[in-house]
Symmetry: C2
Subunit: 204 residues, 2 copies
Amino acid sequence: MYPIITISREFGSGGHTIGKMVSEKLGVPFYDSEIVDQVAKRSGYTKAVINEQGEYTDKLTKWFSVTVPSAMYFENPQDEIFKAQRRVILDCAEQGPCVIVGRCADDILDQEGYNTMNVFIHADMDHRIARVLERYGDTDVDVRKRLERKDRNRKTYYKYYTDREWGKYTNYQLNLDSGYLGIDQCVNIIVDTAKAIDARTREE
Amino acid sequence: MYPIITISREFGSGGHTIGKMVSEKLGVPFYDSEIVDQVAKRSGYTKAVINEQGEYTDKLTKWFSVTVPSAMYFENPQDEIFKAQRRVILDCAEQGPCVIVGRCADDILDQEGYNTMNVFIHADMDHRIARVLERYGDTDVDVRKRLERKDRNRKTYYKYYTDREWGKYTNYQLNLDSGYLGIDQCVNIIVDTAKAIDARTREE
């Protein structure tokens, strides 16, 4: 059986594209924005809010919400969204092998004892800037600063909800530089490895 | 052309074995203890001293050697060995594609603009303890503590001579968990990727 493949990624590193291609080659479901759709249905929050709050933490917002008296809120919206996302991710995993992008899926599934292959995709800044400009077109925003902020907020979010360090090698079975390797070779490595794991589990 | 492949590794993760197998499959030279032989010839230090001082730094020794008046020594032996190792590594790289294990080869070659593929091999503690016991037999030493000390000293050595963080994803194109993937799949990933890079450079 293929493992469940989780993909964490630096912004602009092509992690979404790689995950999509892997799922197509292996013939297993792919979950990225699909998770947002499900969370929207279950939580009542809009997709825009979920996209913003479901993977990114601005440290100041977080600190504010922690330091104000908790009685002021029923629950922090970010915590509510995290819990809804967690339930959706566990439901996806329950269906069998699949590819899940982001949203602390690696830690959530590890905690529940699933057989996961956790992948981290990164690339140097020049490759990521080129990729973002190619995908989203030229903008007035300073792309480098935007990438750095996105990464920082993903890292903070991941640390807050998992107590793990984002990108640290001990958390991943494969950690790939898509800028050097290219998207296709990243896909090949993940697909070949999933097949090797599948073959090994059949032998056992 | 194949890239020069550098392999950094946690102690007991099988990095030496993986490097050796990769070099045989690609038909390129393999440098690990061969570097020690060359350094011994050039520096006059014994292999035992080079093995001990050429990849490991005990922080206290380092601090001591830094805080005593430098006039007391012509040169710190560890610095002398590092410089001799550096020259040997550059000579190896100059011969063409090869596999080099440890000794900050990734940073030394990157600084000089070589086309390297830097690989980091790690594994969870249980896999590493099992591997060390299998290779070196049962000992009175606490294997876990020995592994932790070896890693800590490699990390300190690497940081001191490269100012990079050992194991950090930004320094490596491939970062592989040999405990999960197995030695053979690590070898396959590195060999297939070297071939893909070779094919790409031929097209360009």
